[in-house]
């Protein structure tokens, strides 16, 4: 520690700041090392890195789409398992139903985390995210449907309809 401090402190002769993108020579008095031209480096580097970056972005968005589509397989599998499990009240079917509900919910909770590795300002993640969310919602709907919580039947819409009013009114009975 002591040693490093000494080097860093007073004994520094020169330094190149690679992050300095200015075309002008280093601000210090010391000239650039021979063979070091700022402009060409910039030129060269940008071409290569752009290519690289494009490839990476492509790869990222591809990956993101893949990840987004992943729940679809899950959905199919879940559907198959539910079909296998049947609709009877059974430990197995209850377990399946719960997992069918839980998986999409937990996946939805972690949407940000799932797509974090593919975060890039050049990659548009909205599409994959939406697909991911939609597929998971589909999975959730499948789970809810097995529980019968989706209002897909006429009975779900009429079960609280109050009786129609009658226009006529009549009363009477056996004379008192």
């Amino acid at each position: 520690m002591e040693k490093g401090k000494g080097v860093m402190g007073a004994g520094r002769r020169w330094a190149v700041d690679f992050s300095d993108n200015s075309t002008a020579p280093s601000s210090r008095d010391i000239p650039d090392p021979p063979g070091f031209t700022r402009a060409s480096v910039d030129q060269d580097d940008s071409a290569v890195s752009r290519q690289k970056k494009d490839a990476e972005a492509n790869w990222k968005s591809q990956k993101a789409w893949e990840v987004a589509q992943a729940p679809f397989k899950n959905l199919l599998m879940m559907g198959f398992m539910m079909w296998m499990a049947g609709s009877t009240v059974h430990l197995f079917s209850i377990g399946i139903t719960f997992s069918a509900l839980w998986q999409p919910i937990s996946a939805l909770q972690g949407v940000g985390k799932v797509f974090e590795p593919y975060k890039d300002n050049k990659v548009d993640l909205l599409g994959p995210k939406l697909l991911f969310i939609a597929l998971n919602l589909g999975g959730l709907a499948l789970g809810l449907n097995t529980l019968g919580l989706l209002p897909t039947h006429a009975s779900d819409w009429v079960s609280s309809l109050s009786p129609a009013q009658e226009v006529e009114y009549s009363g009477g009975g056996i004379p008192l």
Partner: protein
């Protein structure tokens, strides 16, 4: 449906451990229910004599109850309620051997089945002229001589054997009096043959031998009753009611002596009426409002001893010592009653003179019975049992009311409910707020009980705390709507307001419009209706009820209306109507002060609208063409439908009088069908939904109409008692009739069945109970009616977007397309009444409340009476809650809502919704009253009363503490880890 399957999945685990039966734990009895025992109007009272050493009085009442009351508190010592056919005509206590223990606690109803009860024989017969003579002795056996049904019987006290009998029926003799001269073995039977012949029979009481038979004619004829004045002299009135006849039959010689009433009193008041009394030498006559007490000096000399305008009652004679008779005279003066006890032969002196302040709401004194006791200074004291106009029973002693019983409540005609006032400053009557310490103490006790740490004393304290919870008898509205006023109208024409919390009488009011008056000789109370139900903008008004009565039993007797404030119990106004009241139709409209519009139909089929305000008329005229009414003439077997036509024409022209015209009529063939029961839906019933979701999420639309009438008819032969017809000649037909159009929507015949039919109509179903002659069992049938024309509404998108006409108003003239589903089940009990639970929103499932023949109320889940029950329900049907089909309905002992109690003489069951959706209030009345709360689907929307808040609080605090402690511990541990 979807929700339900979801529930099934989750809640099945919870419900698997629960039983669907609703029952009480022993310590829950009396928490929400109360039971009151009554007797009815006392007809006759007999005091136990000194010899028996018991301070009791035996009474018989108009509700056919015989009871023994404790004289100190007026509590019922024992009570027998006889059937409605066993009318009690007289009771008496037989002395001597009749008191032996082996004949105690039994009673006998007729001569043929002689049984004995505690020395009290009960003879029921149709005859009014009943007389019981006791105190006769043959050898060691006491005999009792009974006159009933035109027959004189002598019955042995030991075994109830009939020793001899003498029949007067065949001799066309109308027996007026049976007289036994004290100390002799003779019996005189006097009476009239036709209207002018007086007959006297002298009979030996020991063997029934006829000793003498004399008769004499009196040209003037006789009127009404005779009053015995001496052992061989009676007093009667001639047919004009202006001349008093003294008839003596000494030594078998009949002689008449006439005394015109005008000789006795200067001014005449019209025809007189004899008030019979058994006091020697004294009788009374009544002319209009004037009562005259007359003393008979010797055979012929009459002397007026008192003339009064006050209502007077005279008791029977009470022999206090050898040859001395005492009797009581009660006179009514505005706020007081004057009681005088005199000796029979000494009018001028009073043995006792007392004035007792009397509540005006008890009316006049109807009857008085006296009893003597020996004071500590060996002098005679008297106590008087008086029966008031409102049927209440009071014991007077030493100028004070010792106790009183509101026995008018045994004969309730109609019941309605009223809300209590909203709690505001100064409104609260009962004080319930106790301090925090007491609250905590109570909850600590409860906690101890929950944790099973309570000692027996603590348990008792907890129980009494629960029962005495002053919260339930508070006089203000509660959040759950459990506290209400039950307004009941009794046969005596008195209104009572009972608190649903503990059944105490909040106020009572003797209706002036239902009291005897010059214009109205025989007033009858008919019905009670809610007149004003304030809510929303009329919150400051007090609610009121409408009492409808009429003068006399005939159909064209003028009606009487009374409006009574239900908070104060004061009569707001009363109306004597010029028209009669044949029907009362409460209309579903109110005016701006929340007064309900009522349509009264008179015997001439004119409709009269009340209230008579211009606002009410304008409201009514707006709905004029949509109002119909129907009349059921059960004697002729005709049901007629009517519509309103216009203002009355002719002499009865009135702003609020409307003419009606007949629209349709249904005539039942008189030789094969007789109407025995009609039922409609309750007016205030709320139906939650028109759809019924069945298995597989299919929808059936209920046919819900307020204008449906259920009619049951039986074959003429089947309208008699069960057992007298063969199954082939008896049938029962059930109809569902639309009362607006007269359309018969459904008709079903039950062959081999007969009445009586009890039915209940609710939502889209009707359940009825009858007897199946073929199976020799009672049956209950259910008819559910569904609207097929709505069944096509199946498109989910239309329903989602609301593009359907399911809730738009419908006219009954549109062609209905209905289907019915029905099913019959055997039922063990015969039934006195059926009702159905009702809740505020109509969401909670229904229970039938069946008043059984044992005077209990049984709750039966409507699911048992589902027409869709099948032997093997599918999985989906099971999920829907369909019970596998059985041939009979189960009677689960725990589902008696009256638990161990009996509502003697049960006549009606009323259900009222509480504000809490799960709960319904049930009031059953007969001779007894019973009230309870029911939750047909358990109290799913509230915590129970005995929920332990303290335990909850402590648990939360403990959990918080635990969290805090573990958190600090874990913090510390983490720190230590880091330091390592």
């Amino acid at each position: 449906m979807a929700i339900r399957s979801f529930l099934i999945l989750f809640i099945l685990f919870f419900f698997s451990s629960l039983n669907p039966i609703l029952s009480l734990y022993e310590d829950q009895v009396g928490l929400v229910d109360w039971h009151q025992q009554y007797l009815g109007k006392v007809k006759q009272a007999v005091f136990h004599t000194h010899k028996t050493g018991r301070k009791r009085v035996v009474v018989s009442t108009e509700e056919n109850v015989v009871a023994s009351l404790d004289l100190r508190q007026g509590e019922i010592f024992w009570r027998h309620v006889l059937g409605s056919n066993d009318v009690i005509d007289g009771i008496d206590i037989a002395l001597g051997k009749c008191h032996y223990p082996f004949i105690r606690r039994k009673y006998f109803e007729s001569m043929e089945s002689s049984r004995w009860a505690d020395g009290v024989g009960i003879f029921s017969s149709g005859s009014k002229a009943l007389k019981i003579i006791t105190n006769l002795k043959i050898e060691k056996d006491n005999i009792v001589i009974i006159f009933s049904n035109g027959r004189l019987n002598a019955v042995s006290c030991i075994d109830g054997e009939v020793l001899w009998e003498k029949d007067f029926e065949g001799e066309s003799l109308k027996v007026q009096q049976v007289i036994q001269p004290p100390g002799s073995n003779l019996i005189y039977v006097v009476g009239f043959v036709s209207s002018s012949l007086f007959e006297m029979y002298q009979i030996n009481a020991l063997n029934g031998e006829l000793l003498k038979h004399e008769s004499a004619a009196f040209s003037g004829g006789f009127l009404g009753e005779v009053s015995p004045v001496f052992s061989e002299t009676v007093v009667a009135l001639d047919s004009t009611g202006l001349i008093l006849l003294t008839i003596s039959f000494q030594n078998g010689k009949i002689s008449f002596h006439q005394t015109p009433i005008s000789n006795l009193v200067k001014d005449s008041f019209g025809p007189a009426k004899i008030i019979t009394s058994s006091v020697t030498g004294i009788f009374a006559i009544k002319m209009n409002a004037v009562t005259i007490v007359i003393r008979v000096k010797d055979e012929s000399k009459l002397e007026v001893v008192e003339k009064t305008n006050h209502e007077t009652s005279i008791s029977d004679a009470l022999s206090i010592s050898e040859g001395q008779q005492a009797f009581a005279l009660v006179q009514h003066a505005s706020h007081e009653i004057h009681l005088r006890v005199k000796l029979a032969h000494n009018w001028d002196d009073n043995l006792l003179k007392e004035s007792v302040k009397m509540d005006q709401h008890r009316g006049l004194v109807h009857k008085v019975y006296i009893n003597n006791y020996i004071r500590t200074d060996k002098s005679y004291g008297f106590r008087a049992l008086i029966v008031m106009e409102d049927h209440s029973l009071l014991l007077l002693q030493q100028g004070e009311i010792v106790w009183s019983r509101e026995d008018g409540l045994a004969s309730i005609i109609d019941v309605t409910t009223s809300e209590l006032p909203v709690e505001r400053d100064g409104v609260s009557v009962a004080k319930v707020e106790h301090n925090l310490f007491e609250w905590l103490k109570g909850h600590m006790l409860k906690l101890k009980g929950t944790l099973m740490l309570a000692s027996p004393q603590d348990v008792a304290a907890i129980q009494s705390m629960r029962l005495k919870n002053s919260e339930k008898s508070k006089m203000t509205r509660d959040h759950n709507g459990f506290r209400k006023l039950l307004i009941v109208l009794t046969r005596a024409g008195k209104l009572f307001a009972l608190h649903t919390g503990d059944g105490h009488i909040v106020w009572s009011y003797l209706l002036q419009s239902l009291q005897k008056s010059k214009v109205c000789q025989h007033p009858i109370g008919l019905n009670l209706y809610k007149w004003q139900v304030p809510h929303h903008h009329a919150m400051d008004e007090n609610p009121s009820v409408l009492v409808i009565g009429k003068c006399g039993p005939s159909s064209d007797a003028p009606g009487a209306l009374s409006f009574v404030d239900t908070y104060t119990g004061k009569e707001l106004s009363s109306l004597s109507l010029v028209h009669s009241v044949a029907q009362v139709i409460p209309l579903p409209y109110t005016d701006s002060t929340e007064q309900c519009l009522h349509l009264l139909i008179d015997a001439d089929k004119h409709a009269h609208l009340y209230p008579k305000t211009p606002e009410a008329i304008s409201t009514f005229e707006r709905e004029f063409s949509n109002i119909y009414w129907y009349s059921v003439e059960d004697d002729n077997g005709i049901i007629k439908g009517h519509a309103l036509r216009g203002k009355c024409t002719g002499e009865v022209a009135d702003e609020v009088c409307f003419d009606t015209r007949e629209l349709w009529s249904i005539v039942f063939p008189s030789e094969s069908e007789k109407i025995i029961a009609i039922v409609t839906r309750k007016l205030n019933e709320v139906v939650h939904t028109q759809a019924k979701v069945i298995a597989d999420q299919e929808v059936m639309y209920k046919y819900i109409s307020r204008n449906l009438l259920f009619v049951a008819t039986v074959a003429l032969k089947g309208s008699v008692e069960i057992g007298s017809v063969t199954p082939e000649e008896s049938w029962l037909v059930a109809y569902l009739i639309d009362t607006v159009t007269g359309r018969i929507l459904h008709r079903v015949t039950h062959h081999g069945s007969q009445g009586p039919v009890h039915a209940v109509f609710s939502e889209n179903w009707v359940v009825y109970h009858y007897f199946n002659l073929k199976a020799h069992r009672y049956e209950m049938s259910v008819i559910e009616i569904y609207d097929q024309s709505r069944a096509d509404n199946k498109d989910v998108w239309k329903l989602v977007l609301g593009k359907h006409n399911l809730t738009s108003p419908i006219s009954l003239y549109s062609r209905p397309d209905v289907i019915t589903k029905s099913q019959s089940y055997f039922f063990t009990h015969s039934v006195k009444a059926i009702a159905v639970t009702s809740t505020t929103k109509g969401i909670t499932s229904k229970q039938l409340l069946i008043g059984t023949i044992g005077d209990q109320v049984l709750a039966l889940d409507k699911r048992f009476l589902d027409p869709r029950r099948t032997v093997n329900p599918t999985q989906a049907e099971k999920e829907e809650g369909i019970i596998p089909l059985t041939d009979s309905l189960p009677i689960i002992p725990q589902s008696y809502v009256t638990h161990a109690l009996r509502v003697e003489g049960l006549r009606g069951i009323i259900t009222v919704p509480a504000k809490l959706e799960s709960t319904t209030l049930v009031f059953a009345h007969g001779v007894d009253l019973f009230f309870t709360q029911l939750a047909p689907s358990r109290t799913y929307d509230s915590l129970t009363d005995d929920f332990n808040y303290a335990l909850l609080l402590i648990t939360i605090v403990a959990l918080l503490a635990a969290i805090f402690v573990t958190w600090t511990l874990s913090e510390r541990k983490e720190l230590q880890e880091n330091w390592r």
